[in-house]
Homo-oligomer: 231 residues x 2
Protein backbone atom coordinates (compact mmCIF):
# COMPACT_ATOMS: atom_id res chain seq x y z
CA UNK A 1 0.00 0.00 0.00
CA UNK A 2 2.81 2.31 0.80
CA UNK A 3 4.19 1.30 -2.54
CA UNK A 4 0.98 2.22 -4.31
CA UNK A 5 1.01 5.60 -2.69
CA UNK A 6 4.48 6.19 -3.92
CA UNK A 7 3.71 5.15 -7.44
CA UNK A 8 0.72 7.37 -7.61
CA UNK A 9 2.50 10.34 -6.19
CA UNK A 10 5.21 9.93 -8.72
CA UNK A 11 3.04 9.90 -11.75
CA UNK A 12 2.24 13.52 -11.13
CA UNK A 13 5.75 14.60 -11.37
CA UNK A 14 5.86 14.32 -15.11
CA UNK A 15 2.54 15.93 -15.56
CA UNK A 16 3.46 19.55 -15.65
CA UNK A 17 5.24 19.89 -18.92
CA UNK A 18 8.61 21.53 -18.82
CA UNK A 19 8.86 21.43 -15.05
CA UNK A 20 12.17 20.51 -13.52
CA UNK A 21 10.77 17.20 -12.56
CA UNK A 22 9.49 16.32 -15.99
CA UNK A 23 12.74 17.32 -17.65
CA UNK A 24 14.72 15.21 -15.23
CA UNK A 25 12.39 12.28 -14.90
CA UNK A 26 11.60 11.89 -18.56
CA UNK A 27 15.25 11.56 -19.39
CA UNK A 28 15.95 8.00 -20.48
CA UNK A 29 19.08 7.61 -18.41
CA UNK A 30 17.62 8.87 -15.18
CA UNK A 31 16.77 6.41 -12.48
CA UNK A 32 14.48 8.35 -10.20
CA UNK A 33 13.22 7.12 -6.90
CA UNK A 34 10.12 8.32 -5.19
CA UNK A 35 10.42 8.87 -1.49
CA UNK A 36 7.94 9.73 1.21
CA UNK A 37 9.22 11.90 4.02
CA UNK A 38 7.26 12.01 7.23
CA UNK A 39 6.72 15.22 9.13
CA UNK A 40 9.97 16.27 10.74
CA UNK A 41 12.20 14.10 8.60
CA UNK A 42 15.34 15.59 7.18
CA UNK A 43 15.95 15.61 3.42
CA UNK A 44 19.49 16.82 3.89
CA UNK A 45 21.57 18.72 6.38
CA UNK A 46 23.86 21.71 5.94
CA UNK A 47 27.57 21.01 5.55
CA UNK A 48 27.00 17.56 4.15
CA UNK A 49 27.89 16.45 0.66
CA UNK A 50 25.02 16.64 -1.78
CA UNK A 51 23.82 13.22 -2.84
CA UNK A 52 21.33 14.37 -5.40
CA UNK A 53 18.42 16.67 -6.10
CA UNK A 54 14.89 16.55 -4.76
CA UNK A 55 11.80 17.42 -6.70
CA UNK A 56 8.81 18.07 -4.51
CA UNK A 57 5.56 16.47 -5.52
CA UNK A 58 3.46 17.26 -2.52
CA UNK A 59 3.91 18.64 0.97
CA UNK A 60 5.79 21.59 2.37
CA UNK A 61 9.46 21.67 3.14
CA UNK A 62 11.32 24.19 5.21
CA UNK A 63 14.71 25.39 4.10
CA UNK A 64 16.77 26.65 7.01
CA UNK A 65 20.15 27.15 8.54
CA UNK A 66 21.20 26.28 12.07
CA UNK A 67 23.02 28.74 14.28
CA UNK A 68 25.66 27.89 16.84
CA UNK A 69 23.06 27.95 19.60
CA UNK A 70 21.22 25.24 17.67
CA UNK A 71 18.33 27.44 16.63
CA UNK A 72 16.83 26.99 13.20
CA UNK A 73 16.54 30.02 10.98
CA UNK A 74 14.11 29.47 8.17
CA UNK A 75 15.08 30.92 4.84
CA UNK A 76 12.11 29.77 2.85
CA UNK A 77 9.28 27.30 2.65
CA UNK A 78 8.76 25.46 -0.58
CA UNK A 79 6.09 23.17 -1.94
CA UNK A 80 4.93 21.29 -5.00
CA UNK A 81 7.08 21.73 -8.05
CA UNK A 82 10.17 23.04 -6.32
CA UNK A 83 13.55 21.55 -7.05
CA UNK A 84 16.00 21.69 -4.20
CA UNK A 85 19.53 20.61 -3.51
CA UNK A 86 21.07 21.38 -6.86
CA UNK A 87 23.12 24.46 -5.95
CA UNK A 88 25.89 22.70 -4.00
CA UNK A 89 26.19 20.05 -6.70
CA UNK A 90 26.80 22.71 -9.30
CA UNK A 91 28.93 24.91 -7.08
CA UNK A 92 30.89 21.82 -6.06
CA UNK A 93 30.52 22.42 -2.38
CA UNK A 94 28.50 21.19 0.54
CA UNK A 95 24.89 21.98 1.35
CA UNK A 96 24.60 25.54 2.56
CA UNK A 97 21.25 24.85 4.11
CA UNK A 98 19.13 22.09 5.59
CA UNK A 99 15.77 20.86 4.36
CA UNK A 100 13.14 19.26 6.56
CA UNK A 101 9.57 18.10 5.88
CA UNK A 102 6.94 20.23 7.62
CA UNK A 103 4.32 17.61 6.82
CA UNK A 104 4.21 14.35 4.91
CA UNK A 105 5.94 14.95 1.61
CA UNK A 106 6.28 13.01 -1.61
CA UNK A 107 9.51 13.69 -3.35
CA UNK A 108 11.37 12.45 -6.41
CA UNK A 109 15.03 11.90 -5.78
CA UNK A 110 17.52 12.01 -8.62
CA UNK A 111 21.10 11.10 -7.82
CA UNK A 112 23.91 13.55 -8.28
CA UNK A 113 25.37 11.43 -11.04
CA UNK A 114 22.15 11.27 -13.02
CA UNK A 115 21.50 14.93 -12.46
CA UNK A 116 24.90 15.88 -13.81
CA UNK A 117 24.39 13.57 -16.76
CA UNK A 118 21.20 15.38 -17.73
CA UNK A 119 22.79 18.73 -17.09
CA UNK A 120 25.56 17.89 -19.54
CA UNK A 121 23.22 17.01 -22.33
CA UNK A 122 20.31 19.35 -21.80
CA UNK A 123 20.82 23.01 -22.66
CA UNK A 124 17.19 23.39 -21.70
CA UNK A 125 17.82 22.29 -18.13
CA UNK A 126 20.94 24.38 -17.92
CA UNK A 127 19.08 27.50 -18.91
CA UNK A 128 16.14 26.75 -16.66
CA UNK A 129 18.39 26.22 -13.68
CA UNK A 130 20.33 29.35 -14.47
CA UNK A 131 17.13 31.32 -14.52
CA UNK A 132 15.99 29.74 -11.30
CA UNK A 133 19.29 30.48 -9.59
CA UNK A 134 19.20 34.11 -10.69
CA UNK A 135 15.68 34.54 -9.45
CA UNK A 136 16.50 32.99 -6.12
CA UNK A 137 19.40 35.32 -5.86
CA UNK A 138 17.05 38.25 -6.10
CA UNK A 139 14.76 36.69 -3.54
CA UNK A 140 17.48 36.11 -1.00
CA UNK A 141 18.83 39.62 -1.45
CA UNK A 142 15.35 40.89 -0.76
CA UNK A 143 15.18 38.87 2.47
CA UNK A 144 18.64 39.95 3.48
CA UNK A 145 17.63 43.51 2.99
CA UNK A 146 14.39 43.11 4.89
CA UNK A 147 15.99 41.60 7.90
CA UNK A 148 18.75 44.18 7.88
CA UNK A 149 16.65 47.31 7.77
CA UNK A 150 13.06 46.62 8.72
CA UNK A 151 11.56 46.37 12.17
CA UNK A 152 10.12 43.06 13.28
CA UNK A 153 6.52 44.05 12.77
CA UNK A 154 7.04 44.84 9.10
CA UNK A 155 8.83 41.58 8.58
CA UNK A 156 6.05 39.68 10.28
CA UNK A 157 3.53 41.30 7.93
CA UNK A 158 5.59 40.24 4.94
CA UNK A 159 5.92 36.78 6.42
CA UNK A 160 2.19 36.32 6.86
CA UNK A 161 1.53 37.35 3.29
CA UNK A 162 4.21 34.99 2.10
CA UNK A 163 2.79 32.14 4.14
CA UNK A 164 -0.66 32.78 2.78
CA UNK A 165 0.82 32.52 -0.67
CA UNK A 166 2.59 29.28 0.13
CA UNK A 167 -0.23 27.61 2.00
CA UNK A 168 -2.97 28.71 -0.32
CA UNK A 169 -2.72 26.41 -3.28
CA UNK A 170 -6.46 26.11 -3.10
CA UNK A 171 -6.71 29.79 -3.85
CA UNK A 172 -9.71 30.22 -1.60
CA UNK A 173 -10.20 33.70 -0.37
CA UNK A 174 -8.74 33.90 3.05
CA UNK A 175 -8.73 31.40 5.92
CA UNK A 176 -5.25 30.04 5.83
CA UNK A 177 -4.25 27.44 8.31
CA UNK A 178 -0.58 27.87 8.83
CA UNK A 179 0.73 24.70 10.31
CA UNK A 180 3.69 26.26 12.01
CA UNK A 181 4.49 26.81 15.65
CA UNK A 182 5.08 30.32 16.89
CA UNK A 183 8.67 29.28 17.24
CA UNK A 184 8.85 28.45 13.57
CA UNK A 185 7.20 31.68 12.54
CA UNK A 186 9.71 33.52 14.68
CA UNK A 187 12.53 31.74 12.94
CA UNK A 188 11.26 32.93 9.59
CA UNK A 189 10.87 36.49 10.74
CA UNK A 190 14.13 36.47 12.62
CA UNK A 191 12.90 37.21 16.11
CA UNK A 192 11.81 35.44 19.27
CA UNK A 193 8.63 33.43 19.69
CA UNK A 194 7.41 35.80 22.40
CA UNK A 195 7.71 38.77 20.11
CA UNK A 196 5.70 36.96 17.47
CA UNK A 197 2.94 36.30 19.98
CA UNK A 198 2.82 39.92 21.03
CA UNK A 199 2.82 41.30 17.52
CA UNK A 200 0.20 38.87 16.28
CA UNK A 201 -1.99 39.92 19.15
CA UNK A 202 -1.40 43.54 18.31
CA UNK A 203 -2.33 42.89 14.71
CA UNK A 204 -5.48 41.19 15.86
CA UNK A 205 -6.35 44.22 17.98
CA UNK A 206 -5.87 46.36 14.90
CA UNK A 207 -8.22 44.13 12.92
CA UNK A 208 -5.59 43.02 10.45
CA UNK A 209 -5.94 39.36 11.28
CA UNK A 210 -8.01 36.96 13.32
CA UNK A 211 -6.39 34.22 15.35
CA UNK A 212 -7.87 30.87 16.31
CA UNK A 213 -5.12 28.69 17.59
CA UNK A 214 -2.77 28.19 14.69
CA UNK A 215 -5.29 29.35 12.19
CA UNK A 216 -4.57 32.88 11.11
CA UNK A 217 -7.17 34.62 9.04
CA UNK A 218 -6.03 37.66 7.15
CA UNK A 219 -8.86 40.15 7.33
CA UNK A 220 -7.14 43.22 5.98
CA UNK A 221 -4.63 42.20 3.40
CA UNK A 222 -4.24 45.70 2.03
CA UNK A 223 -3.11 47.06 5.36
CA UNK A 224 -0.68 44.19 5.84
CA UNK A 225 0.79 45.03 2.46
CA UNK A 226 1.12 48.59 3.61
CA UNK A 227 2.91 47.62 6.80
CA UNK A 228 5.21 45.34 4.86
CA UNK A 229 5.70 48.18 2.38
CA UNK A 230 5.16 45.92 -0.56
CA UNK A 231 4.03 47.76 -3.61
Amino acid sequence: MAKDQIQEACKNCSEEINSFCSILCEHPEVQKSCITFKKGQLLFHEDTNPKGVYCINSGKIKIYKTSLDAKEHIISIVGTGALIGFAPIIAEGTHEISAKALEECHVCFISRKDFLKVLQTSPELKLKLLKEACKRNGGIIESLFNIAVRPVKDRLAVCLLMLKEVYNNSNTASPVEINLTREEISSIVGTSAETVVRLLKEMERDNLIQITGRKILITNEAKLFKIGKIY
Copy 2:
Protein backbone atom coordinates in the same frame (compact mmCIF):
# COMPACT_ATOMS: atom_id res chain seq x y z
CA MET B 1 44.81 60.11 -24.23
CA ALA B 2 41.67 59.05 -22.53
CA LYS B 3 41.20 56.85 -25.54
CA ASP B 4 44.61 55.26 -25.08
CA GLN B 5 43.88 54.53 -21.49
CA ILE B 6 40.72 52.78 -22.45
CA GLN B 7 42.36 50.74 -25.12
CA GLU B 8 45.06 49.62 -22.82
CA ALA B 9 42.73 48.75 -20.01
CA CYS B 10 40.71 46.66 -22.35
CA LYS B 11 43.48 44.52 -23.61
CA ASN B 12 43.70 42.94 -20.21
CA CYS B 13 40.22 41.69 -20.27
CA SER B 14 41.00 38.88 -22.62
CA GLU B 15 44.13 37.93 -20.85
CA GLU B 16 42.85 35.59 -18.25
CA ILE B 17 41.79 32.59 -20.23
CA ASN B 18 38.33 31.30 -19.61
CA SER B 19 37.27 34.30 -17.58
CA PHE B 20 33.83 35.71 -18.18
CA CYS B 21 35.34 38.61 -19.93
CA SER B 22 37.42 36.57 -22.29
CA ILE B 23 34.54 34.29 -23.18
CA LEU B 24 32.33 37.25 -23.92
CA CYS B 25 34.83 39.54 -25.54
CA GLU B 26 36.45 36.95 -27.76
CA HIS B 27 33.14 36.08 -29.28
CA PRO B 28 33.10 37.25 -32.89
CA GLU B 29 29.66 38.77 -32.71
CA VAL B 30 30.21 40.76 -29.56
CA GLN B 31 30.70 44.47 -29.79
CA LYS B 32 32.21 45.36 -26.48
CA SER B 33 32.81 48.87 -25.30
CA CYS B 34 35.30 49.85 -22.67
CA ILE B 35 34.13 52.43 -20.22
CA THR B 36 35.85 54.33 -17.48
CA PHE B 37 33.73 55.13 -14.44
CA LYS B 38 34.90 57.83 -12.10
CA LYS B 39 34.66 57.48 -8.35
CA GLY B 40 31.06 57.77 -7.33
CA GLN B 41 29.60 57.10 -10.75
CA LEU B 42 26.71 54.72 -11.06
CA LEU B 43 26.94 51.66 -13.30
CA PHE B 44 23.28 50.90 -12.87
CA HIS B 45 20.52 51.53 -10.40
CA GLU B 46 18.06 49.14 -8.80
CA ASP B 47 14.62 48.83 -10.35
CA THR B 48 15.88 49.85 -13.78
CA ASN B 49 15.90 47.62 -16.83
CA PRO B 50 19.22 45.91 -17.42
CA LYS B 51 20.98 47.25 -20.48
CA GLY B 52 23.83 44.81 -20.47
CA VAL B 53 26.55 43.20 -18.40
CA TYR B 54 29.69 44.73 -16.96
CA CYS B 55 33.02 43.03 -16.71
CA ILE B 56 35.35 44.70 -14.28
CA ASN B 57 38.91 45.23 -15.40
CA SER B 58 40.20 47.38 -12.62
CA GLY B 59 38.83 49.27 -9.64
CA LYS B 60 36.36 48.43 -6.90
CA ILE B 61 32.63 48.57 -7.22
CA LYS B 62 30.09 48.49 -4.46
CA ILE B 63 26.92 46.51 -4.88
CA TYR B 64 24.14 47.83 -2.70
CA LYS B 65 20.48 48.38 -2.17
CA THR B 66 18.80 51.58 -1.10
CA SER B 67 16.24 51.66 1.71
CA LEU B 68 13.22 53.92 1.90
CA ASP B 69 15.13 56.34 4.08
CA ALA B 70 17.65 56.64 1.25
CA LYS B 71 20.44 54.81 3.05
CA GLU B 72 22.70 52.53 1.08
CA HIS B 73 23.13 48.98 2.29
CA ILE B 74 26.15 47.37 0.79
CA ILE B 75 25.80 43.75 -0.15
CA SER B 76 29.23 43.19 -1.55
CA ILE B 77 32.29 44.85 -2.99
CA VAL B 78 33.72 43.43 -6.16
CA GLY B 79 36.86 44.02 -8.14
CA THR B 80 38.88 42.83 -11.12
CA GLY B 81 37.42 39.90 -12.99
CA ALA B 82 33.90 40.15 -11.67
CA LEU B 83 30.94 40.07 -13.99
CA ILE B 84 27.92 41.99 -12.80
CA GLY B 85 24.47 42.77 -14.04
CA PHE B 86 23.64 39.47 -15.66
CA ALA B 87 21.11 38.15 -13.17
CA PRO B 88 18.19 40.41 -14.07
CA ILE B 89 18.79 39.82 -17.76
CA ILE B 90 18.48 36.12 -17.25
CA ALA B 91 15.67 36.32 -14.72
CA GLU B 92 13.90 38.76 -17.03
CA GLY B 93 13.36 41.37 -14.39
CA THR B 94 14.81 44.66 -13.28
CA HIS B 95 18.05 45.22 -11.39
CA GLU B 96 17.67 44.08 -7.80
CA ILE B 97 20.65 46.10 -6.74
CA SER B 98 22.67 49.16 -7.63
CA ALA B 99 26.35 49.32 -8.57
CA LYS B 100 28.58 52.31 -8.02
CA ALA B 101 32.30 52.86 -8.54
CA LEU B 102 34.23 53.27 -5.30
CA GLU B 103 37.24 54.49 -7.24
CA GLU B 104 38.13 54.94 -10.88
CA CYS B 105 37.12 51.77 -12.67
CA HIS B 106 37.72 50.33 -16.09
CA VAL B 107 34.91 48.18 -17.26
CA CYS B 108 33.92 46.27 -20.38
CA PHE B 109 30.31 46.70 -21.25
CA ILE B 110 28.50 44.09 -23.33
CA SER B 111 24.97 44.86 -24.38
CA ARG B 112 22.07 42.73 -23.33
CA LYS B 113 21.49 41.63 -26.89
CA ASP B 114 25.07 40.53 -27.44
CA PHE B 115 25.17 38.85 -24.07
CA LEU B 116 22.07 36.82 -24.82
CA LYS B 117 23.47 35.92 -28.23
CA VAL B 118 26.57 34.44 -26.64
CA LEU B 119 24.53 32.76 -23.96
CA GLN B 120 22.47 31.01 -26.63
CA THR B 121 25.46 29.60 -28.40
CA SER B 122 27.89 28.92 -25.58
CA PRO B 123 27.20 26.01 -23.28
CA GLU B 124 30.45 26.94 -21.63
CA LEU B 125 29.18 30.36 -20.63
CA LYS B 126 25.86 28.92 -19.54
CA LEU B 127 27.55 26.49 -17.22
CA LYS B 128 29.98 29.05 -15.89
CA LEU B 129 27.20 31.48 -15.12
CA LEU B 130 25.15 28.77 -13.50
CA LYS B 131 28.05 27.90 -11.28
CA GLU B 132 28.62 31.53 -10.45
CA ALA B 133 24.96 32.07 -9.62
CA CYS B 134 24.89 29.03 -7.35
CA LYS B 135 27.99 30.17 -5.53
CA ARG B 136 26.62 33.64 -5.03
CA ASN B 137 23.49 32.11 -3.67
CA GLY B 138 25.52 30.44 -0.99
CA GLY B 139 27.33 33.66 -0.26
CA ILE B 140 24.20 35.73 0.11
CA ILE B 141 22.59 33.13 2.34
CA GLU B 142 25.66 33.30 4.51
CA SER B 143 25.34 37.10 4.78
CA LEU B 144 21.65 36.86 5.47
CA PHE B 145 22.34 34.47 8.23
CA ASN B 146 25.10 36.58 9.69
CA ILE B 147 23.04 39.69 9.85
CA ALA B 148 20.07 37.83 11.28
CA VAL B 149 21.80 36.13 14.16
CA ARG B 150 25.13 37.69 14.97
CA PRO B 151 25.82 40.76 17.04
CA VAL B 152 27.33 43.80 15.37
CA LYS B 153 30.83 43.21 16.67
CA ASP B 154 31.06 39.78 15.12
CA ARG B 155 29.82 41.12 11.83
CA LEU B 156 32.34 43.92 11.89
CA ALA B 157 35.11 41.40 12.42
CA VAL B 158 33.93 39.41 9.43
CA CYS B 159 33.66 42.61 7.44
CA LEU B 160 37.23 43.67 8.18
CA LEU B 161 38.56 40.31 7.11
CA MET B 162 36.48 40.45 3.98
CA LEU B 163 37.73 43.94 3.18
CA LYS B 164 41.29 42.87 3.69
CA GLU B 165 40.67 40.10 1.21
CA VAL B 166 39.14 42.46 -1.32
CA TYR B 167 41.62 45.28 -0.97
CA ASN B 168 44.66 43.10 -0.80
CA ASN B 169 45.33 42.04 -4.33
CA SER B 170 48.94 42.81 -3.67
CA ASN B 171 48.96 40.07 -1.08
CA THR B 172 51.30 41.99 1.17
CA ALA B 173 51.12 40.96 4.75
CA SER B 174 48.92 43.40 6.52
CA PRO B 175 48.55 47.16 6.16
CA VAL B 176 45.34 47.47 4.24
CA GLU B 177 44.10 50.88 3.35
CA ILE B 178 40.38 50.60 3.17
CA ASN B 179 39.11 53.51 1.19
CA LEU B 180 35.69 53.61 2.75
CA THR B 181 34.06 56.08 5.06
CA ARG B 182 32.83 54.91 8.41
CA GLU B 183 29.39 55.37 6.99
CA GLU B 184 30.15 52.93 4.21
CA ILE B 185 31.61 50.38 6.56
CA SER B 186 28.50 50.68 8.67
CA SER B 187 26.35 50.03 5.65
CA ILE B 188 28.22 46.82 4.97
CA VAL B 189 27.94 45.63 8.54
CA GLY B 190 24.36 46.76 8.85
CA THR B 191 24.68 49.22 11.72
CA SER B 192 25.22 52.93 12.33
CA ALA B 193 28.42 54.85 11.67
CA GLU B 194 28.72 55.72 15.35
CA THR B 195 28.63 52.10 16.34
CA VAL B 196 31.39 51.33 13.86
CA VAL B 197 33.55 54.05 15.39
CA ARG B 198 33.01 52.74 18.88
CA LEU B 199 33.65 49.13 17.99
CA LEU B 200 36.74 49.90 15.94
CA LYS B 201 38.08 51.80 18.90
CA GLU B 202 37.29 48.90 21.16
CA MET B 203 39.08 46.54 18.81
CA GLU B 204 42.07 48.85 18.81
CA ARG B 205 42.10 48.82 22.61
CA ASP B 206 42.08 45.02 22.47
CA ASN B 207 45.05 45.08 20.10
CA LEU B 208 43.20 43.47 17.25
CA ILE B 209 43.73 46.34 14.88
CA GLN B 210 45.53 49.64 14.56
CA ILE B 211 43.80 52.70 13.17
CA THR B 212 45.39 55.64 11.38
CA GLY B 213 42.65 57.63 9.75
CA ARG B 214 41.11 55.35 7.20
CA LYS B 215 43.99 52.96 7.28
CA ILE B 216 43.15 49.90 9.31
CA LEU B 217 45.95 47.52 10.10
CA ILE B 218 44.96 44.08 11.23
CA THR B 219 47.38 43.06 13.94
CA ASN B 220 45.70 39.96 15.25
CA GLU B 221 43.96 38.22 12.42
CA ALA B 222 43.50 35.00 14.34
CA LYS B 223 41.50 36.71 17.03
CA LEU B 224 39.37 38.50 14.48
CA PHE B 225 38.62 35.16 12.92
CA LYS B 226 37.63 33.90 16.30
CA ILE B 227 35.28 36.80 16.94
CA GLY B 228 33.75 36.34 13.52
CA LYS B 229 33.53 32.63 14.25
CA ILE B 230 34.99 31.71 10.92
CA TYR B 231 36.54 28.33 10.91
